[in-house]
């Protein structure tokens, strides 16, 4: 049990998907400009990562490995992720249309989010069993959401600050992320 708690904390804070593993950065820089879009994106990412990791984990352990076609891993994983994102899109469109509209273009963008394929691949590389895989994927994606939300708040404030022209936009965002990463890194002392 203690192992699972350490795993959860590790995935959430210390080895945070964005700040330590550098996964999911492209959409991060684009989406984190407003808090509302950050919340939508974050929730969608949590759903997709957990679902996708479960399916790809099962695919690896029950199909790819027994049939010795491990070299098809990347291809099949991506197709599973793309299909899943498509299905989540259709589900939201039918069941919760306002949420679907507010997410807008960010939903199909999750397919190319390094974090989804990254977490799915890591779970295989670390050889996690089912329960560890669930914990890892859930807390990793929550970690993504957490950093995304904090950062969108920061960025809203940064818009007002007088920043020299060459550093406006991406450079200052990266430097601010460094500060955030530093804070999260110090949290490693808790465990």
């Amino acid at each position: 049990m203690a192992n699972l708690i350490t795993l959860a904390f590790g995935a959430l804070l210390i080895e945070n998907v964005l700040l330590y593993r550098f996964l999911g950065f492209c959409p991060f820089l684009g989406v984190s400009k407003k808090r509302s879009s950050a919340v939508g994106m974050g929730l969608a990412v949590i759903v997709v990562i957990v679902l996708a990791t479960i399916v790809t984990w099962a695919l690896y352990h029950y199909v790819l490995k027994p049939l010795d076609i491990v070299y098809l891993q990347t291809l099949t994983f991506i197709l599973v992720i793309a299909a899943l994102v498509q299905m989540v899109e259709m589900f939201l469109k039918k069941v919760v249309p306002p949420l679907y509209r507010s997410l807008g273009i960010y939903l199909p963008l999750i397919t190319t989010n390094c974090a989804v394929l990254g977490v799915a691949s890591l779970v295989i590389a670390y050889e996690y069993d089912f329960l560890s895989m669930l914990i890892f994927s859930f807390f990793s994606s929550v970690g993504f959401f957490l950093v995304l939300y904090i950062f969108s708040g920061l960025r809203e404030a940064m818009e007002q600050a007088p920043i020299p022209k060459p550093f406006k936009g991406t450079p200052i965002a990266l430097i601010a992320t460094a500060a955030l990463a530093l804070i999260f890194a110090r949290l490693g002392g808790i465990i």
Partner: protein, 222 residues
């Protein structure tokens, strides 16, 4: 419409540099720039995938049904990524261990999908191939620049390949400073990349302003 291939190639280097201008492929830039060796290795893999996927997509662009073009791009790109993965595992196993999951992540690297959508699906094979090479080289320049900064400041060495290293410690000793592992850590990654992009932007803006000035003067002088 005749495409100037020289322009086509050169644009990927500076004006439309995928990392510094389009801000794509940041995940991999942050992760693999801990040493020049992994930076070069990653760049080669990316150029390989970018080149072949651009060429293939350009070849079949007319028969791809529009509704499924993104899945088609993804399948083509991922196939070449898997080819690179297998080749690396077989012939460059140390590099594969260093790059880890990021080799597979080339498949979702925004640069490659972006070029497929923006260029290869709309231009002929030759232009697409040259565009791929230009963009790939631009990516390489960006990655190598950041790698060198991080590795020098972080360890005082530049690892070109395997055991071929350049030892810059004498320079450090001359100034009585020590390299700090901070720069090869994850926090260092963000800061170095942010500052490098900021500096590149500053240079680009300065050059642009100067060009504008010269243009205005030419106009004024008639």
């Amino acid at each position: 419409m005749k495409v100037n291939q020289k322009q086509n190639f050169l644009k990927g280097l500076i004006k439309e540099n995928p990392v510094f201008v389009f801000v794509l492929g940041i995940c991999s830039t942050l992760a693999v720039t801990t040493s020049l060796e992994s930076g070069i290795g990653m760049s080669l893999a990316v150029i390989f995938v970018l080149f072949f996927s651009n060429v293939v997509i350009s070849l079949i662009k007319n028969i791809i049904p529009n509704d499924i073009r993104i899945p088609v791009f993804i399948i083509v790109i991922t196939t070449f990524v898997s080819v690179v993965e297998l080749i690396m595992q077989a012939y460059l196993p140390d590099l594969y261990d260093q790059l880890g999951v990021f080799v597979a992540l080339i498949a979702v690297n925004c640069i490659i999908l972006g070029r497929a959508e923006a260029f290869a699906s709309k231009n002929n094979v030759l232009s697409s191939a040259i565009d791929a090479l230009g963009m790939g080289l631009g990516y390489t320049i960006a990655i190598c620049l950041v790698s060198i900064v991080r590795e020098v400041l972080g360890t005082g060495l530049i690892t070109i390949w395997g055991n071929a290293k350049i030892n810059l410690m004498p320079i450090f000793d001359f100034f009585h400073v020590k390299p700090s592992a901070f720069f090869t850590s994850n926090v260092g990654a963000f800061i170095v990349l942010g500052i490098v992009i900021g500096i590149v932007n500053a240079i680009v803006f300065a050059v642009k302003d100067k060009k504008e000035k010269i243009k205005k003067e030419v106009k004024a002088n008639g």
